[in-house]
């Protein structure tokens, strides 16, 4: 039953907690050596999926294979081939960074000398040598996350699970974690990354799977998904509300797209194909018509819009 070529293969996973259906028919195929971004809002089922795939949780229905082994019946084999970075740094706060890594290395069944060697290597790689013998409770958020990541890499896993790896980190720490993840991927590790941020998935993933309501509602490369979303939007805020209709017709003419109007905020927005051209033309056309704009900006679709768009599509398909 081993399906060669897939790091992760989940078929029809269902999981219910009491009344809440966390997963309903979750399917996912991640080819070996690739990074898959599992993108979805809070409560979409991302963590449940990761917990099932990392053998922590049993699915009510469906099967899943990780690195070619069944997560339920061959949990032990799966465990010796995966690394897990959970939502919160899973570390012993009292022990030092070095002691944490050594303990985990021993529990991964490395010999004493090998555990020491691997620990030093990881401390070096994640730039933690200086703080190696300090108690983890004195670590910053970014250092903790790096140590956490180091701990999940002790056995050089075939498949690495990262559950919202940068949630709660400041931009600098986030960049550090991204850099670390990129270097792993260069080594050929397969990664499943869950995130709430489109940007994060875009930065790191070869393919993105959008999850909502416990199942995948869209899949593709970042470019494919963006194309489906229609790309960036231009957003104009007017000074005077009574000029909204005039501005709407100008923007519709320039962008040749549907314009959404928010009267309360005196705001208009529309999809654009060529960002800079649209921006200059809209600005010029508004100036020619002597309509005063408080703000004109280009922005990427927000996650809300992505989901709105995708869920609408999804329902059309279901109908």
């Amino acid at each position: 039953m081993h399906t060669k070529g897939f790091a992760i293969l989940a078929k029809g996973l269902y999981k219910r907690y009491g009344k809440q259906q966390a997963l309903q028919g979750f399917n996912l195929a991640v080819p070996e050596g690739t990074v898959c971004g599992l993108l979805g809002p809070n409560g979409a089922g991302k963590t449940t999926a990761v917990r099932i795939l990392t053998t922590l949780l049993h699915a009510d229905e469906g099967t899943a294979e990780v690195a070619g082994f069944d997560v339920r019946r061959q949990a032990e084999q799966v465990r010796s081939r995966i690394g897990l970075l959970g939502q919160y740094a899973a570390l012993d706060e009292i022990l030092s960074g070095r002691q944490n890594l050594r303990m985990f290395a021993r529990l991964y069944h490395l010999g004493a000398a090998e555990a020491r060697r691997r620990t030093d290597e990881l401390l070096e790689r994640f730039d933690l040598i200086g703080a190696a013998d300090k108690s983890v409770r004195h670590y910053s958020g970014g250092m903790r996350r790096r140590l956490d990541l180091a701990a999940s890499l002790i056995i050089a896993p075939q498949v690495l699970f990262l559950d919202e790896p940068t949630t709660g980190l400041d931009p600098r720490s986030r960049n550090e974690v991204w850099t670390a993840i990129r270097s792993l991927v260069a080594d050929g590790t397969s990664v499943l990354l869950t995130t709430q941020y489109l940007e994060e998935a875009d930065q790191l993933a070869d393919s993105i799977a959008v999850i909502e309501g416990g199942r995948i509602i869209a899949e593709g490369t970042p470019d494919q998904l963006k194309a489906r979303l229609g790309g960036d939007r231009i957003q104009v805020v007017l000074h005077r509300a009574e000029e909204l209709p005039a501005a709407e017709s100008i923007i519709r003419r320039v962008t040749a797209a549907e314009v959404t109007v928010d009267e309360d905020r005196r705001q208009l927005s529309a999809l654009v194909q060529q960002r800079v051209v649209a921006l200059t033309e809209v600005a010029r056309a508004l100036a020619d018509a002597e309509i005063e704009a408080e703000d004109i900006a280009l922005r990427r679709p927000t996650l809300d819009e992505v989901f709105l768009h995708l869920t609408e599509k999804h329902e059309e398909v279901m109908l």
Partner: protein, 271 residues
């Protein structure tokens, strides 16, 4: 489907090796928090001094005898009960921090998490008993029986600790909230005080005396008073009379209930 074989022997070896690694983790905690270790060790010592000297003068032991000789066996048992809190806290902290999940996602022996915890807690208890023994000897407590009897007494104390440890593990797995430790503390006090640790059951009103005598803790206390040949061991009731058996039975009963419950609860983490 790929297959891999592990022999029973390697399984057993890793169960022990992993448990030892988890135990070592706790021993390293001691090194990092020497102050806390000392405070924990001195806590029962404070009780010995408080009750032995401050209240001791006004206490009488039925059948005669020195109050501090009466008190020390009770202090040994109380230390075993207080360790229960540390077990609870260790279990809930690991679950909340995600450390338990990390362990469970690793190829280590699943039994090691709970086994390692119990070995570490027992080692901690042995250390507390040694310190308390030394303090006891300094304040005038002696064991008058044979060395074998003294060892048996220590064994009964550790058995009590071992059984309470599984109650602590169970509560930790069920409650999963580190703040609930105050609840556990509140629970511990009446259990400790409604026993014959500080005063003999004979000195209490009848209904209270009966309640106190049937407290599992009291059976262990009476049994070790018997084994150390310390005063206060000659209660007339049935439970007091069979204290040695009861000191074995109570902990075994707790184990029979809470060991399987804990193991079941642990497996249920994957539900």
């Amino acid at each position: 489907m790929r297959t891999e074989r592990t022999t029973l022997f390697t399984r057993f070896y890793w169960a022990l090796a992993d448990a030892w690694t988890v135990t070592q983790r706790d021993l390293l905690h001691w090194m990092h928090q020497p102050f806390q270790v000392i405070v924990n060790l001195l806590f029962p010592v404070m009780f010995v001094l408080l009750f032995g000297f401050l209240f001791g003068g006004s206490m009488t032991v039925p059948g005669g005898g020195d109050y501090r000789e009466f008190l020390l066996p009770g202090m040994f048992a109380m230390t075993m009960v207080f360790g229960f809190e540390a077990t609870f806290l260790a279990i809930t902290t690991d679950i909340n921090r995600g450390v338990t999940d990390r362990f469970r996602s690793m190829p280590m022996a699943a039994s090691a998490i709970l086994l390692g915890r119990s070995i570490a807690d027992l080692l901690n208890s042995v250390l507390s008993l040694i310190v308390l023994c030394v303090v006891g000897l300094l304040v005038g407590w002696r064991w008058h029986g044979s060395f074998g009897e003294a060892l048996l007494a220590m064994g009964l104390l550790l058995l009590l600790r071992f059984s309470l440890l599984w109650v602590g593990i169970y509560l930790g797995l069920v409650i999963r909230n580190t703040e609930a430790v105050s609840l556990v503390q509140i629970l511990i006090w009446p259990i400790s005080f409604l026993s014959n640790i500080f005063a003999a059951a004979e000195t209490m009103p009848g209904w209270l005396g009966a309640l106190v005598e049937w407290n599992p803790l009291s059976s262990t206390v009476t049994a070790i008073r018997v084994l150390f040949h310390n005063p206060g061991a000659d209660g007339a009731s049935w439970v007091a009379h069979h204290s040695l058996w009861m000191a074995l039975l109570w902990p075994l009963l707790l184990l029979v209930i809470f060991f399987p419950l804990s193991v079941r609860r642990y497996w249920r983490l994957s539900r």
